[in-house]
Symmetry: C2
Subunit: 207 residues, 2 copies
């Protein structure tokens, strides 16, 4: 029940998860696709189709149990185990992301911060001392790094990513303005802030 699921579906899953989390906080026990569709402003059909990519989580005549569905989506999204995260490029954005990961109630654990700037060595950010990037190879021998965050200048991103991939890092959360060229067993999730800002700018024109 895993491959062949479209990106469009995957993009919507975290949003379902968020809404179900809120329902849960509000003590709602069950919900129908129709009620949820009104809250989320999508069609009930889409909700049912999306969920049925992963299995039948509902019950005819009843709807969906909120707690059960929430947990199932969490499991689908891989939120049942802790992912160790190391971050590369401890500038403003890097520091913010380090703190973000730390305080977000999600199972991601920041275990290392790396930079090339010698002046930063040993500085504490989000409770972790900054190391030099060339120390990563040793660090990697004693720590399992599941995800590398790249908050680096664009020219540094590709070589660093390449090195990390060679050392066995298979997942990247990339904030640099480049498309990383990676073997296809490596997962890359891009956050291109400037592209987001340009889309906003586009949508502002002609109004």
């Amino acid at each position: 029940m895993d491959k062949g699921i479209s990106k469009a579906v995957i993009r919507r899953m975290p949003r379902y998860y968020r809404y179900l989390g809120e329902l849960l906080e509000n003590g709602v026990e069950r919900i129908s696709s129709n009620e949820l569709s009104k809250m989320m402003k999508v069609t009930a059909s889409q909700i049912r189709q999306d969920l049925n990519n992963f299995g039948g989580f509902g019950q005819q005549g009843y709807g969906y149990n909120v707690r059960f569905l929430y947990d199932e989506i969490g499991r689908i999204l891989g939120l049942t185990e802790i992912h160790n995260v190391a971050l590369f490029g401890v500038g403003n954005l890097g520091q913010a992301i380090a703190n973000y990961v730390r305080f977000e109630k999600l199972p991601f654990k920041m275990i290392g911060l790396f930079d090339v700037d010698k002046k930063k060595k040993g500085q504490i950010v989000s409770g972790i001392p900054i190391m030099m990037i060339d120390e990563f190879e040793d660090f990697n021998k004693t720590h399992r790094v599941d995800i590398a965050v790249l908050t680096l200048p664009k020219d540094a991103a590709m070589p660093v990513a390449q090195k990390l991939a060679d050392l066995g890092v298979h997942a990247f959360w990339n904030f640099a303005h480049v498309d990383l060229e990676m073997p296809k067993d490596v997962v890359v999730e891009n956050v291109h802030l400037s592209e987001s800002l340009m889309q906003l700018s586009y949508n502002m024109t002609g109004r």
Copy 2:
């Protein structure tokens, strides 16, 4: 030549812009859809279809003039004029975004930082003193604010956005974990970092 263009097309435009910018830096004068398609790993057909939503920017037998196309896409994306930006919620992420906007070579100008925390009042971030959110109404009388950045806790985002919308702010770059309910003449661009991270997590499983 504006409305009716699909979101999918708009999402791709900033990427074209980035690649054309790089070609320009490398002194490339002309490029065919076929060459560009190989660089960008999309189909040449898609490139031509996308561009022809906005007009015929190429020339048969020649291809596209890089400089011309770059400028045209910049114009389409609304990058020919400066957009004034104010930011609400000067935490870690807010500070990082303030600096990001400042140093990114795009026509967005950070003109005000606002928070509710009295201890932050007057502190300088990215060259700008932090003001209190209740000072915004006055600030807004003497400054044109085109875009509001929301780097606030989720419960604060909606009321603040509502207030700002009432005061005439029509565009929001929203980093809070909520879907803002706004009249349809208001533009909202969401950056949901946690959803991005969950997508990454999903794609890591089953490998």
